[in-house]
């Protein structure tokens, strides 16, 4: 039992590490198709990572140890987060380590280190990107916490696997509270992962970028780790969304090879659908001015709080 759980945990982390670049590749493919371009290969993110790992790293002369440590810290927190989020199974040994609130804290840690590293070398663009990232983060975090609180309110626990297990096993009802929070979560996901309405991941235009500006000073393996970490962050957010809003298909009961074997293709299916949906949102929406970002995130916060209020007033939806 113990070893089986450990094996499931390791499998989940391995799947996350492998699936994160694939997910980004799929997202980029969908975006290319939607804008009538020829799509790049699904494996392109992998090839870029391999290329970067084979290069020699160059550091700025005045870079501090923090600058060198940051990629490992950011990547490490994302891997731990991937181990906590129930993407394949809800019965994992690492789950006891942190609940959903601590998970938000993990993401915040990664963000702080990313921003500090961006400011470390002292170039103007890095500082600019870091400030913008902190602004977006500080507005997105309350919304994300609210989303998690609504889900916790419904299932009376803050442990993410227990929430998804509760939501997966209850009877199917029309729940406006969850629908509102799902919208809020999608908005937070777009903002936190530097997707289009807030940041444009494809551009290197100095005055509009947020995330890319912070990585300008990195090269080779450091850059590879940072890129991989941001791919993992996108994957993790998607998996939190699945755990809260479409939890069906996660192996809930005993951990066995059969349950996990079923959970992997279902996860792949969900990721494919989520990637296509995100690509669609990004294609039809225009990038907001940076000063409109607070409005965007206030809307996300509003949706989450509305979910909570509706839940509080209407109560649980009556089940047949």
């Amino acid at each position: 039992m113990k070893t089986a759980a450990l094996a499931a945990q390791l499998l989940e982390i391995a799947v996350a590490l492998a699936a994160a670049p694939l997910f980004l590749g799929w997202l980029n493919q969908c975006r290319a198709w939607l804008s009538n371009r020829r799509a790049p290969s699904l494996l392109l993110p992998f090839r870029q990572l391999r290329k970067l790992f084979h290069k020699d790293a160059v550091l700025a002369r005045n870079a501090s140890p923090l600058f060198r440590a940051a990629p490992y810290v950011v990547f490490g927190t994302m891997v731990v987060a991937a181990g906590i989020i129930p993407s394949l199974s809800a019965r994992l040994p690492l789950v006891a380590a942190a609940d959903a609130v601590a998970l938000v804290g993990l993401f915040a840690t990664a963000r702080v280190f990313l921003s500090l590293a961006a400011m470390d070398v002292g170039t103007a663009f890095g500082t600019l990107g870091a400030r913008r990232e902190m602004m977006v983060g500080f507005l997105a975090e309350p919304a994300l916490l609210m989303v998690i609180f609504v889900a916790s309110l419904i299932s009376a626990t803050t442990a993410l696997p227990a929430i998804s297990e509760h939501l997966a096993t209850r009877t199917l009802t029309i729940d406006p509270a969850l629908a509102f929070t799902a919208v809020a979560f999608t908005l937070v996901l777009l903002a936190e992962n530097a997707r289009i309405p807030v940041d444009n991941p494809a551009t290197h235009l100095e005055l509009t970028m947020i995330h890319e500006a912070m990585l300008l000073e990195y090269s080779a393996r450091h850059l590879a780790l940072m890129e991989w970490a941001s791919q993992l962050r996108l994957f993790n957010y998607a998996c939190i969304g699945f755990a809260l809003f479409i939890p069906w298909g996660i192996a809930t009961r005993e951990i066995g090879p059969a349950g996990l074997a079923l959970a992997v293709p279902i996860l792949a299916l969900k990721l494919a659908a989520a990637g296509a949906g995100l690509a669609l949102i990004e294609t039809v929406s225009a990038k907001l001015r940076i000063l409109r970002a607070p409005e965007f995130l206030a809307t996300a916060f509003l949706f989450a709080v509305l979910g909570m209020l509706v839940r509080g007033l209407l109560g649980a939806p009556p089940s047949p």
Partner: protein, 231 residues
């Protein structure tokens, strides 16, 4: 959940309740969307959507409780608030040539947060009424009150005449929804009277718009706040 109205069809009751709750939640959402919307054309469309949700809730409740007059008021809502009034507003907007106008200096984030406080206040206010009422939609009273107060807030924060009128109409929608959820709608005579009032008010205000613009060359109501001859 026990339901006194239709003890026979338990599953239908649950689905009905869920749909009615979803309608209530949608009302609240649309009220917030109106509070945040800058463009006048989108405001009119949102008003039509609010009317459509209201009509759907009314017809659903009518079917559920078997009360004949609710069918009438549902159809009336559909004809008046989904079709006629938005059409009238669109025509007005075209003739006033303000189709692409937007509300200037609107602090959307601040409005939304104020709106949240207002809704929490409304929910607290409605709590005792909710306990007293015995209808199937008693939980929605708080939401209806919230919609009314949000429409109020919208009228306070807007400066254009058309947006204020849309806020007024939205408030009427909220009141109607509140009456429906508290007592299965007002008596038929009152309902018809209110519908007629709104219609007449709309027509009169339509004339007013042209007068205001004639006088001040704009539909911005802060011109009305200064007294005296000087413009």
């Amino acid at each position: 959940m026990t339901d006194p109205l239709l003890p026979s069809a338990a599953i239908h009751v649950a689905i009905d309740r869920q749909l009615l709750d979803a309608c209530a939640a949608l009302q609240l959402l649309i009220a917030f969307a109106m509070l945040a919307q800058r463009r006048i054309v989108s405001l009119v469309n949102l008003l039509a959507a609010q009317g459509a949700v209201l009509a759907a809730a009314t017809l659903l409740l009518a079917w559920r409780t078997g009360q004949g007059h609710l069918y009438v008021s549902g159809v009336l809502t559909l004809a008046l608030k989904v079709a006629f009034l938005p059409w009238l507003l669109h025509r007005l907007i075209d003739r006033l040539e303000v189709r692409f106008d937007a509300e200037p200096a609107l602090n959307v984030s601040g409005n939304l947060l104020a709106g949240l406080l207002v809704v929490v206040f409304a929910f607290g206010l409605a709590q005792p009424i909710t306990h007293l009422a015995s209808t199937a939609m008693r939980n929605a009273i708080g939401i209806a009150l919230g919609v009314v107060l949000l429409a109020f807030l919208m009228m306070i924060t807007r400066r254009k005449a058309i947006s204020q009128v849309i806020g007024f109409l939205s408030m009427e929608n909220g009141l109607f929804f509140g009456a429906m959820s508290a007592t299965y709608g007002m008596p038929m005579v009152v309902e018809l009277g209110v519908a007629l009032d709104v219609l007449v008010a709309m027509l009169v205000l339509g004339v007013f718009f042209f007068q205001i613009r004639e006088q001040f060359d704009s539909l911005d109501l802060h011109h009305l706040e200064s007294l005296g001859e000087r413009r």
